[in-house]
Symmetry: D2
Subunit: 341 residues, 4 copies
């Protein structure tokens, strides 16, 4: 039984484990002030193309989201998210637990547009309601879509005009940036968003996300917030060493490209068989709509999520590929699909 | 320059890294539901001697404290801690950030007694004040002391009589249990405290603490709290594999014993030289009071914390040893002490 | 310009002010422990028909909602509300500010049904999502509708079966209970809901709501929560004296009946003119849909809210009547409507 | 049995009740946007001598403190208070419930000095601890002392130099400003503190405190915070009308002067009898140390708090006088003291 359930089923890329081994017995400072973390930050700044950002390593995505959003907002301010946004339905109310409401918007294909945001602002005119302040987006999104550069530019411009903070959840940023449909560079992001994070957990690391704060006014005292939420690891080197390895060369992008390529092969085969998809997703998650009988047969050999019922005879399922997905298992899945469909 | 600053200056015990390597490419469930975590939980239950506890793996100490305490308390209830307690002054208000006041008590040698607790209860008679509800203790404590079995029994009895929750921070529980002065077994704890954690980070792991919930009424829905605070790792196996290795045999205790032994050698030498100590600490942290001139000389070769000024000529410093402390470095320190003192 | 904008445009019923005057210089205990508050509680228990409830006086509706809901829930638990629910969009995120998410449901005519609740439960199966726990309803609702006894019974039964807390916001409970369509008694409520409040502010008091806690497990330590949220008035007598006067005889119900009667007269006239309504609202708020030209003319003499645009030519407006609405002003409005429509 | 227990045992000054009666049936806007509140704000600005402050009316002291402090601070920032400070021990953890730690300082005679603050700053150097940010003081203090102009000036200067916010709890500000030892004007305050409140509840109002925000950066969006904490009264006129009456002429100061005068008469008599006091308190609260036998006799005719045990034979008690304290009852107490002492 091979699993296409998610992109965190294995450990870490072997180079990362080797890096941990090699540095293991060297003594260094705690709490992220070690030389590996400092070096990793410099490397990432190089890839982003600016020194004018602050970078912090945090263990996971929910933790990064809750620390960033609660640090950026005053008590009466709210986040805006598309209805499929991870913070809305899959983080156990983590944002609300820090005191902030999330305003849900329907959006389109998992993405927000300026007109969505205008609607929220129009509906929140005064102090009897929360004040919408932070726009939460993900790329790639929870349903596999990605933001184009012009879509981001439009959101950015709207946010600037309306004093909104634009924050991007990059749990799968690697996959987005390596998508065939992508026209965005990592170095574009500081000009387009106020803060974002580069996901490690779902792209080859054991744990770890790199939060990048671009807007100066959001940088102050940020380590206090990490510590207060219990996220300042004593052995912060664990995070630094991993990101050092991911960004020492192009490993981060190679891993994401592999994941996308594997999803692409499956997608291609499904398209050939005239299978349709629930969403347009040029990344490492795809959502084909399959007859329930087909799904049952596939379940004999593969693990995956049944995403939602589409009609009485068919459902959308989710296939997720990753840096660790094996070529031969994809080939095997494709063969099986050919046979079953 | 060798560091005695803390017990998290190195990576992990090599056996732990090897275990990570060996299991690395096996696919498994996320969020702590993998077979390694499940197996580790069973092993620890075996060591504790009861199936009737719930065990959760969490990344670090501050995180464990804030999740446990905020899950256990209702909004108007407060924690009680000794003034040197870690949650009071070294966690950036993490507990208060979840809404709960911590009531500070002077205590003695870093420890609380029933009469300390009685004083707090007497001072909080009605709804104009918070309701004291949870007693926070550490063992070994922040200043190296340990609770004896009878001290714990007395606290336990007092807490039972007064409907208080007794919670033990075990960041350095290994060191406490392996102290020469210890008369407590790991298997005694479920009868003495309502919840405690077994610290991994400071005893050989990369990260990880094992929270053990003993009292039934505190167990319900606990994973929701872990997730809400951003602490449910996607690759929860990272924690499970480490604890599996630590408790597969006696590694956990061997590592703590080594740390204690190293501190013991330094202590012994200092005692021989008639050096006095700030606290009575039969564990892996010792606090000798040294002339400032001696401290300056030591700083040439060793890193350590200057804990507090004692008088115009001398200060207490802190030496911390760990599983990773090298025998030869301790020998070298002892030689230097002999020479300097 | 006479105002039909809301039910809090005037001060208090004259009998209430007189009661404040008469008792003014008598010394009494602070913080709601005065004889007036105690007596008022006894009177209300008499009207409710049971001694087995706890009653607390709190200044306003948002305050009552946030204190009750945050006291009743554990950190990971959420409230469920219909999308027009007051706590969702008109309390500036007060509930989220205490850490709890509110799950929004479309509902029907401002009301929730068991099938709505079942849908929420189905969508929240595990610890990656909040745990739905408290059902928030209002009667009369924010759009003027009321719950029938059987509707409440069905909700109650569903909540019992699913370990949910049923909480009723009674800011306009007087109006609901005195509606011509009502089949519910105040004394039915302890058997149907776990907690509710009797609104004073919108029914003749200067300020004040009486929170009634019916379920035993929700009663403990409740005054701590009131105090912690800043709502335990030093001169709590201010609230007690008002409720004493409202419930000394039938004043509370007489005032609500007057409000309903005034709304009824306006409704009747509109129906005669074949005007339709946005909602079915047999209480003191009505939402007629009027041509924009008519609305403009009415605005010359009357203040009211334009509730929502219906089509390019017409909008729904809201008329609210109260204990203080003058008969002659209603007559005048009716005359004007006859003339304009 | 006449009560000297506190300054909120009666209702409101008769002029205030009359003002409520006279305006009762006039329709006006809700939520503090009525003409009375607006007029009261203008009057108070006149007394303060500047238009450049924002004023908000809030029901009570704990509520004002928690709204102000939580609005002014970011999540990692803490308040500093003297150990007798009201927010520390008498508000049921209201500040911590909004997420902020309060750092306790011993101080002197209920007051803080720059050297106290320096000590706190020195002890909180980095992100492992909260960041001290807001200095909470009261005048008159919880033990009856008052801040002199130069003391306040020194605190102000220290706070400016160290980017601290200086906030004054003025629950008994009237009593402080009318003390014989006072050298401060209401109009001095905007130059000395960043925010303060003028207490109405303990100086003749039914309920109500007027929060005055002096520093521009603290003013933004403040009404959102009031609403979110449930403190924006629908009938906000209730607060506005009362402050309008208190500040229409000098009523506010006359009432405070009466309270002080009554306390002064009792103090004078005790001094004559060589009674000593627990604190130096030139305001409406005094804390004489009396033999327990004397206390027992006084308890036959008077209600008051026993503040603390001083030695085996004597205790400090608290006498509080107010605007409502009757001259003849003070005379009677003095006669009784003469007889008993």
């Amino acid at each position: 039984m091979y699993s296409f359930k998610n992109d965190y089923s294995e450990g870490a890329h072997p180079r990362i484990l080797n890096a941990l081994l090699e540095t293991n017995m060297e003594q260094d400072e705690g709490y992220g002030e070690d030389r590996y973390s400092r070096k990793a930050i410099e490397l990432i700044k190089g890839k982003i193309g600016t020194e004018d950002v602050d970078i912090h390593f945090i263990s996971g995505g929910t933790q990064t989201n809750l620390i960033a959003i609660s640090a950026f907002l005053r008590p009466h301010e709210a986040a805006i998210a598309v209805s499929s946004g991870h913070i809305l339905g899959h983080e156990t109310g983590a944002i609300e637990a820090t005191g902030h409401k999330i305003l849900s918007v329907v959006g389109e294909n998992g993405k927000l547009s300026p007109s969505d945001l205008q609607g929220v602002l129009d509906g929140h005119p005064d102090e009897h309601m929360v004040k919408p302040k932070l726009v939460y987006i993900s790329s790639s999104t929870e349903i596999g879509s990605i933001y184009s550069k012009s879509e981001l530019q439009n959101l950015h411009d709207f946010c600037q005009r309306n004093q909104l903070i634009l924050y991007m959840d990059g749990a799968r940023l690697g996959s987005a940036l390596c998508s065939e449909e992508n026209d965005l560079q990592l170095s574009d992001l500081p000009n387009l968003v106020d803060a974002f994070y580069i996901g490690g957990t779902k792209n080859g690391a054991l744990i770890g996300e790199a939060l990048v704060i671009c807007r100066d006014s959001l940088k102050e005292d940020f380590r206090y917030h990490i510590k207060q939420k219990g996220a300042l690891l004593a052995k912060g080197r664990l995070l630094g060493i991993q990101f050092l390895e991911l960004f020492r060369d192009n490993l981060f992008f190679e891993l994401a490209s592999h994941a996308n390529k594997m999803a692409g092969r499956i997608r291609e085969e499904l398209v050939k068989s005239n299978i349709t998809f629930l969403t347009h997703s040029p990344s490492n998650q795809i959502f084909p709509i399959l007859p329930n009988a087909v799904i049952s047969k596939l379940q004999n050999n593969y693990a995956f999520h049944i995403w939602e019922k589409v009609d009485s005879d068919s459902s959308a399922i989710r296939f997720v590929t990753s840096w660790a997905t094996k070529e031969e298992e994809v080939t095997s899945l494709i063969e099986d699909l050919k046979r079953i469909l």
